[in-house]
Every structure is written in structure tokens, then in C-alpha cells.
């Protein structure tokens, strides 16, 4: 079965990103396909590689990146939400004349159409947030 997942909450805010991660992990473990994880609103903050949590805490961002690497996951960050919150990749850095970028490995920045497409193409769209 094809799952798509929507994450509307940032890391270390409450629990949505953790629950979404465990859900995706379990779905992949059962042999399901996860066609896309879309990060929207404060959820885009899951995509900054500059996060440095304490060593004895989970690294929410790195965990997503690793899962993406292992399973070829499509982690998509909403461009408008990202611009508002300072989540930037090399293209956006150039386009907006910024002095750096911070998008983590395995994530890409794209538009809201990617969420609509994910909802249409997947058998289930599961939302996590506050």
C-alpha cells in the first residue's frame, strides 16, 4: 500500500515529528511504500541541518535524513513556509541573495502541489501536527 505523510509541526515542539517518524518507520518495515513526507507550516523546521540537540537526545532531523537515505524517501519542504522560517537550499540561497543555506540531506524544497499530488497518488494520507 502507498502511504503519504504530512508533518505540520517542528521538531522538539511536541511530538508530531516523532510520531510521524515512527509511523513511517513501521510502515516501511511492513513492506508498505511511503511515497512522500511533506513538511508544512512549522514542520519545515524538521529540514534544517544546523540543528544541534544534546548528545543524549534524539536527533530528529538526522533521523529523517538517515531514513530517507536508507529507503529513498521523498522528503519535501513547502517553499513558502520554508522562506518564512529561513529554511534555505542552495537554489533558494541564490534566488533570494542569502548568505548561506541549511537544508538537510535527503530533503528538497518544492511547492504545495507536491502535497496535493501525494494525496492523490497515495492510498492513505496521514497527518501529524498540533
Amino acid at each position: 500500500m502507498k502511504f503519504a505523510v504530512l508533518v505540520n509541526e517542528g521538531p522538539y515542539t511536541h511530538q508530531a515529528s516523532d510520531t510521524a517518524y515512527h509511523f513511517v518507520h513501521a510502515a516501511l518495515g511492513q513492506g508498505h511504500e511511503v511515497t512522500r513526507v511533506f513538511f508544512y507550516h512549522d514542520g519545515v523546521n524538521n529540514g534544517t541541518r544546523l540543528t544541534t540537540p544534546p548528545q543524549d537526545d534524539r536527533n530528529v532531523v538526522e533521523r529523517w535524513s538517515e531514513l530517507a537515505g536508507e529507503h529513498d524517501l521523498d522528503l519535501v519542504v513547502c517553499v513558502a513556509a520554508a522562506q518564512r522560517r529561513g529554511i534555505v537550499d542552495a537554489d533558494e540561497q541564490k534566488r533570494n541573495g542569502k548568505d548561506g543555506n541549511n537544508l538537510a540531506e535527503g530533503f528538497r524544497i518544492s511547492g504545495l502541489g507536491q502535497l496535493i499530488e501525494a494525496g492523490i497518488q497515495a492510498d492513505r494520507l496521514v497527518s501529524f501536527g498540533d
Partner: protein
């Protein structure tokens, strides 16, 4: 159209997400309490009566890892509520026609 899986991630002491879910969900659907939503599953709690009424025609489950994260022992959960893990969450989602998140 098959039944819907409803997830509730807010404590009934914080928000009325569960109340809304109970009002809107149809007979035959499933309700899964996750994150702070697990507090609703406490036997003798304020949400118990509403959940018990819903269990007449809907199935109710609670996410075990979120119970444990909050120090809630399984024997404090209302009778009739199934305790599932993340694999169970995925199975419920796959078995339902769609998933509605009440936040």
C-alpha cells in the same frame, strides 16, 4: 466507502478534539488515541463515559508507546480499549479507507 480511522492527539483536559471526534465519527469507524490523546483512555477519567458510549458501535485503541512515555500502566486503561504499537497504528490505517487526524 470503507470506515475511517480517526486519530486524536490531544488530551481531553486540554482541548475538545476528542469530543469533536466522538461527535463526527460514524458507527463502524475506529478511533486511535495517540500522544497526549492517550490520557482519555484512563479508566474512571472524565473522558471515560463518552468513550464507553462510542465503543458501542466504534472500536477504540490507544498507542502503547505513548502510554509508557507518560508513565501510564496498561491496567489503568478502560476495559475494551485495545493497546497497539506503531505497527498496529499502520495496520489500522491500512485497514481503514482513510485517516482523519483530530488535533
Amino acid at each position: 466507502m470503507g470506515a475511517i480511522l480517526h486519530t486524536v492527539n490531544k488530551s481531553p483536559f486540554e482541548k475538545n478534539s476528542l469530543q469533536t471526534c466522538l461527535r463526527m465519527s460514524l458507527p463502524g469507524s475506529s478511533i486511535l488515541l495517540i500522544e497526549d490523546g492517550v490520557y482519555a483512555a484512563l479508566a474512571g477519567g472524565d473522558a471515560a463515559a463518552g468513550l464507553a458510549a462510542a465503543m458501542q458501535d466504534r472500536s477504540v485503541a490507544v498507542l502503547g508507546p505513548d502510554l509508557r512515555a507518560r508513565g501510564i500502566a496498561e491496567d489503568r486503561i478502560m476495559d475494551g480499549i485495545e493497546i497497539v504499537d506503531y505497527d498496529g497504528f499502520v495496520r489500522l490505517a491500512a485497514a481503514s479507507a482513510k485517516v482523519q487526524s483530530w488535533m
